[in-house]
Symmetry: C2
Subunit: 420 residues, 2 copies
């Protein structure tokens, strides 16, 4: 079973040399190097790296009304769900005279990377910028590669304004990550970098963590697992598998079912639906290394899925509320036949930035917390010193840290002195 | 001001070659290589890498009663505070027919690294294992270097059992990180690695993130900032600064005050107290690159501290509840004259694994969340399809992802068909 579920190995370390050079160059040469890289990689000649107010206004006019309404509804749902994730401060008296608190504070400066390529990923703008704004990040910097004419797709700009992005720059690839890591004349240095990208962007993010910048999470190709029983609609399941397969030739698509009939029917539906897809050749490549697994029963199907730790998991089974409780490892779970992955990719309200490549074992998807930090506080009263003073002194003494012990001792002695 | 607050540069990339070799060797050769490294680096010849039940029982008998009582109280306070951090599941109807949920699930397998060296860091065992147990991690693996006679300090073993560690191994350094990253015949592969260590351990943790393992956070030398006004007790402040200075020659110690008299008095106290410290030469080295900053007023003092983003911040000022609210960037805050850092290092209940090196700008300290992952769930009813179906289809269509659009379309059509 493990072999069946093995993901293709991906080694970004081979890119560290070329990406390391880009990081070094941008660090030393700033904006000038960004302009050169943009000319070389994106074939765009830029006089100004930042998007102007005129471009923003023009974008607002050129996005069609249907898409605006859609972006607004998606934004509203994403905002509602992430707003509900607000952390309530905690205050606990751990023992007499000792009070501990925990509260959550926004990360001040965040950098969002939105890839270019064939499609304008305005949905990712919503997914990154909406929680950043709710968290209260004061600088929300967005970098995205320009088109050869030096412009940014208007829907990206419209989404960015809708969500409260504060700075938008026309820079892509590893050079964008470098710019947000070190800062340049135009682009502010940020505290944490978010967003998807190709392997160069991934490698750059990984390397950036060596230079006092945090990143959201490591990433690999996108994945879906579908657990389906005999009640599932084969046309729905086929459509869900294809929606993942069209992402890229390296996408992972897994069907797990206790019904052989269902698996056969889904395969038939896939053959039918794939005919009409514009991204058919990509989907075919992804499907060529995908698997359908016939499980003895749903219990086994769930165990297989938990072991695989899929980024997305669709539960197309009759008793989905029961089985959903048994899911211990997945990025996001889609419950029941009506819950397609694309609902969550765009508009249900959950975040679509999720752990791939088995990282669901150790990471959750992006959420409000990802844009905040938790700080702790403690206050000891005089009584608190008497309650835990001896414990602190005993432990510090035995760890051989005399000055640690003494910081408590001077206080302990003072209180004893006052009390006498 | 920025120059005053500059931290010494630390570049662990120079260690990547030697650490990369260790990772590769442990991955290929497993336990046998661990035994060789232990002989070479820790001068211990081990027949068995795991700690036996006899060793655990012997440890229990040899730890003195005062220390046991202290460890129990510290453990109880840490457990109380981290238990209070339990995440309550969230369930939100984002729009008609669309329900989103978020819940928190324990990371299954965690690895805790406890450094060796001059002092047995049993306090760090409490800080890592207590929240791991409360989170519900099913495998809690602890690696720590053996002493030359092949034994582990009994207080480490006692603390490990107290907190519910499930596996203890006698392995240290980069080889321990490698073992937990890849797994060996004896040592299980884990999902996330926690704990402090020297630069080799840090470099190994950083490299481990390339192999599907998560780590707690990057780390640098320990730090304290003290903001003190004229009401502060100079002997307390001096003791606090020294408790940080004794950690290591690279420790960062900063005093910020609006009172020149207080700064002078603290300096005098430091000269007095340092005489009696066993780790005096270490503390002197740390103090040689430390600074006291005379601020115009407390407002400025707080701004300086927020800019520096200290790991620990002690507020020894009269109005500390007011100023504490203004702190936006620090790992853990110690409020008022009685709250020494060593209280939090050992026993107040907060976690002592905190962001150093300015990482408080993007990371919080360890907390219950660090041992868990958040998963999201969404359920669409038929009504939900009608509510957000058009939005999803519009966005997917404009992003050029036809199969994404179709996964919604097949459901939308089915419902329209049912309704007719």
């Amino acid at each position: 079973m493990s072999a069946l579920l093995e993901r293709p190995a991906m080694d970004i370390t081979s890119l560290f040399d070329v990406v390391g050079d880009i990081l070094k160059t941008v660090r030393q040469e700033g904006d000038a190097s960004l302009r050169q890289y943009e000319e070389r990689f994106d074939h765009a000649i830029l006089s100004n790296l930042s998007v102007t107010e005129e471009e923003m206004v023009a974008a607002e006019h050129s996005v069609d009304e249907d898409l605006k309404v859609a972006l607004q509804q998606a934004h509203s749902n994403i905002a509602t769900f992430h707003e509900a994730q607000r952390f309530q401060p905690i205050k606990v008296t751990t023992c007499q005279g000792v009070t501990c608190r925990q509260k959550s504070v926004a990360i001040e400066k965040v950098g969002l990377y939105i890839p270019g390529g064939s499609a304008p990923l305005f949905s990712t703008v919503l997914m990154l910028a909406t929680p950043a704004r709710i968290a209260g990040c004061s600088q929300i910097v967005l970098c995205t590669p320009p088109r050869p004419d030096g412009s940014i797709h208007p829907a990206i700009l419209y989404a960015a304004r809708l969500c409260g992005v504060t700075h938008i720059f026309k820079v892509g690839g590893a050079q964008a990550i470098a710019a947000m890591t070190f800062g340049t004349e135009s682009i502010p240095k940020v505290d944490k970098i978010f967003g998807p990208g190709n392997q160069y962007v991934m490698a750059a993010k990984q390397m950036a963590t060596l230079y006092d910048v945090a990143i959201d999470m490591p990433a690999g190709p996108s994945e879906v697992a579908v657990i389906a029983d005999h009640t599932a609609d084969p046309s729905f399941v086929a459509a869900d598998l294809l929606s993942q397969a069209e992402h890229g030739p390296d996408s992972q698509v897994i069907l797990i079912s206790d019904s052989e009939d269902l698996i056969l029917a889904v395969n038939e539906e896939i053959s039918r639906q794939i005919q009409n897809l514009p991204r058919r050749s990509i989907a075919e490549k992804a499907l060529s290394h995908s698997v359908a697994i016939l499980a003895h029963h749903l219990e086994e199907a769930v165990a297989i899925s938990n072991q695989y730790a899929p980024e997305h998991l669709i539960l197309s089974v009759a008793d989905y509320p029961v089985w959903s409780e048994r899911i211990t490892c997945a990025g996001s779970v889609f419950e029941g036949r009506w819950s397609c992955e694309s609902a969550g990719d765009y508009a249900s309200g959950t975040n679509h930035t999720l752990p791939t490549k088995g990282y669901a074992r150790s990471f959750g998807g992006l959420c409000l917390d990802s844009f905040m930090r938790k700080m702790t506080f403690q206050e000891l009263s005089e009584e608190g010193i008497l309650t835990i003073g001896k414990t602190v002194m005993a432990m510090a003494g035995q760890e051989g840290l005399e000055a640690h012990r003494n910081a408590m001792q001077v206080r302990y002695d003072k209180i004893k002195q006052i009390k006498e």
